[in-house]
């Protein structure tokens, strides 16, 4: 078993994640202060990937809570499986003790991160999908590091305070009490230099020529006015993957302004039409 991580352990980046120093510093501060880190930024700036990278670098298990709009806080904490209990009491062929409700309590994602014997990374993804009450209540739980299971009147306390990363895509700000309990960082869209580093990590064998021209074309296409969803890092990586797998593709096509696989970059039909239109006028 992995030894307990000391709180002073430093995070320096993962194998598939290019980290800028500023963010590393913020992650380390948050871990030291034992505060959840709230990450905002446009889609595709690597908010979710960061949690994966932290888990990998510090050799901790990652628990992901994907927030859904219909979600109630208790779902994230634990679930009392009445159906199985009813079933067991009817047929009685399981190992569980029907008279012991605790056997039928299943931990939710936050619950799991509390009862884990090792320190884990808890990623709460897209918190903005849930309503504000959920958000505030959840932060209370994360602040106290404990919650009650009403059915068995038992308090679950965190064995190890998990490293908590929360992501939000929202343009709007989250509520004040929520923000008060988090550290905050906004990940800006990577500059072209950073983007080249990111691509280098994903495509170690990429040719200089292809990298240069795809990045250039990509940033040009991000500037098209009027698109609803700009292509992000994820789209760029998929696009390069598509280009690389096409035997007929030549880098000089890009220079001529002939951009294949636009659909990989622009996924909404009005955006696609607009991009198709603008691309024909674009020259690198």
């Amino acid at each position: 078993m992995q030894a307990q991580c000391s709180p002073t352990e430093k995070f320096t980046g993962g194998s598939k994640y290019v980290l800028d120093e500023e963010l590393a510093q913020i992650v380390n501060i948050s871990m030291a202060l034992e505060m959840p880190l709230l990450l905002k930024g446009e889609p595709g700036t690597g908010k979710t990937m960061l949690a994966h990278a932290i888990a990998e670098a510090l050799n901790m298990r990652l628990i992901v809570l994907n927030v859904k709009s219909s979600m109630k806080l208790v779902d994230a904490l634990y679930q009392y499986d009445t159906l199985t209990r009813l079933n067991d009491s009817r047929f009685g062929d399981s190992q569980r003790d029907v008279s012991n409700i605790e056997d039928y309590i299943k931990m939710g994602k936050i619950g799991q991160s509390f009862v884990s014997h090792e320190r884990v990374v808890l990623l709460i993804d897209e918190i903005d999908k849930a309503d504000t009450d959920f958000q505030d209540d959840m932060l209370d739980v994360l602040d106290q590091m404990e919650f009650d299971i009403i059915e068995i009147d038992k308090t679950i306390r965190a064995k190890n305070r998990p490293v908590i990363v929360i992501t939000s895509n929202a343009k709007k700000d989250l509520s004040d009490p929520f923000l008060g309990r988090c550290n905050f960082h906004h990940i800006a869209f990577p500059e072209p230099d950073m983007m080249r580093k990111i691509l280098q990590v994903h495509f170690p064998d990429i040719s200089e020529d292809l990298m240069e021209h795809t990045v250039k074309a990509f940033y040009r296409m991000r500037e098209f006015r009027g698109t609803e969803k700009k292509p992000a890092t994820r789209e760029l990586i998929n696009w390069i993957r598509a280009l690389k797998s096409d035997p007929d593709f030549r880098v000089k096509d890009l220079i001529k302004g002939n951009i294949p696989y636009l659909g990989v970059l622009f996924k909404k039909s009005p955006d696609y039409a607009l991009a198709r239109n603008s691309v024909s006028r674009m020259r690198l």
């Binding site: 800028d20 120093e21 500023e22 510093q25 913020i26 380390n28 501060i29 948050s30 030291a32 202060l33 505060m35 880190l37 709230l38 905002k40 343009k171 709007k172 700000d173 004040d176 923000l179 008060g180 988090c182 550290n183 905050f184 960082h185 906004h186 800006a188 500059e191 230099d193 950073m194 500037e223 006015r225 009027g226 609803e228 009005p270």
Partner: protein, 397 residues
Amino acid sequence: MFIDFFYLLRQVGIPVSPTSFLRFQKALGMGLITSLDDFYTAARSVLVKSERYFDLYDQVFAHHFEGAELKDPEEFELTEVAAAMLQEWLKDPKGFADALGIDPESLSKLSPDALLQYFLDRLKEQKGEHHGGSKWIGTGGTSPVGHSGYHPGGMRVGGVSRNKSAVKVAMDRRYRDYSQEGPLSQAQIGEALKKLRNMIPVGPKDQVNIDETIYQTMKNAGEIEIVFDRSLKDRLKVILAIDNGGWSMDPYVGVVQTLFNHSRAQFKELKTFFFHNTIYDNLWEDPPRFKKPVKVDELTRLDPETRFVIVGDASMAPYELMATDGSIHIEERSMKPSYERLRSIAETFPHSVWLNPKLADEWPYTRTIGMIREIFPMFELTIDGLDSAVSHLMGRN
């Protein structure tokens, strides 16, 4: 420690809570922060909770710590001034070049970086004459000459380089783009609608809520307690007039339509009209502006309490607004210039606003925007702009 810094942040309007300041003290006490760079990032992540304040934070940080680390303030000032010059040049290349006596042709061939360097060199040369050069830069041209490919607001000066000191990074103001919200997009519609919800009824409380009255009376042990609700008939009437004509509004029509389609249920009555560029004799009820014209004169018969919201970029040729036969559509040439029409609408409906999808910093470059702003209070079609527009509509003016 750093109490001044804390109060300065609060003073400029960044909501920094004392708790987070104490937490930051804890971080300092733990020996986590060993350099000014650490201080910059750590303080920002602990104290500042929205990217909208990042730009302000950068400015405060640069201001507060300028003396502490700044080696060569003069160089700095020059960079800033040169950057400002570049911005100015992008807005109005010709006018600016004329003002400086530089050849605009040769300048337009330079890349932005080269241009910045050029300005910087020039400033250094001329330091004696033009000390504190910020004055002769802010002349703000009005010539509408555009420059191919560059957009004034979209230009970012400087980049991220990790070799810079924190002060320099702060001086870069990388987050300037986030400090103002862009034009309303589909993704923000939900948020925008919430802003519209502030348009709540303000009628008198004159309707008896029977269920609540019975409940409260029971609770009062039989002592009668009558509960009144606000009457519903005072829900707002809204007229929405949308500029849906011409390519100049094309990028915004989708967003605007979504906004009003969703807001339909919001009000007691919502009338939607369409126009092209500006309003003449008629508004139209049908989007192609063909079948169902409505005389503007007839609007005067409507309740003056109606909120009149115009959405348009207010950008057109000045004669369309000012001339008596300004309409580009031949069939609606009466003797009243559109300017008069707009004025009479504004007089009929004291609660009126003009929402402009163009961002406010582009407004000074279009003459008709200025003229229309004399008639209607104008707000950006952004979340923040919508917020101010709604509070303006609900205010007693």
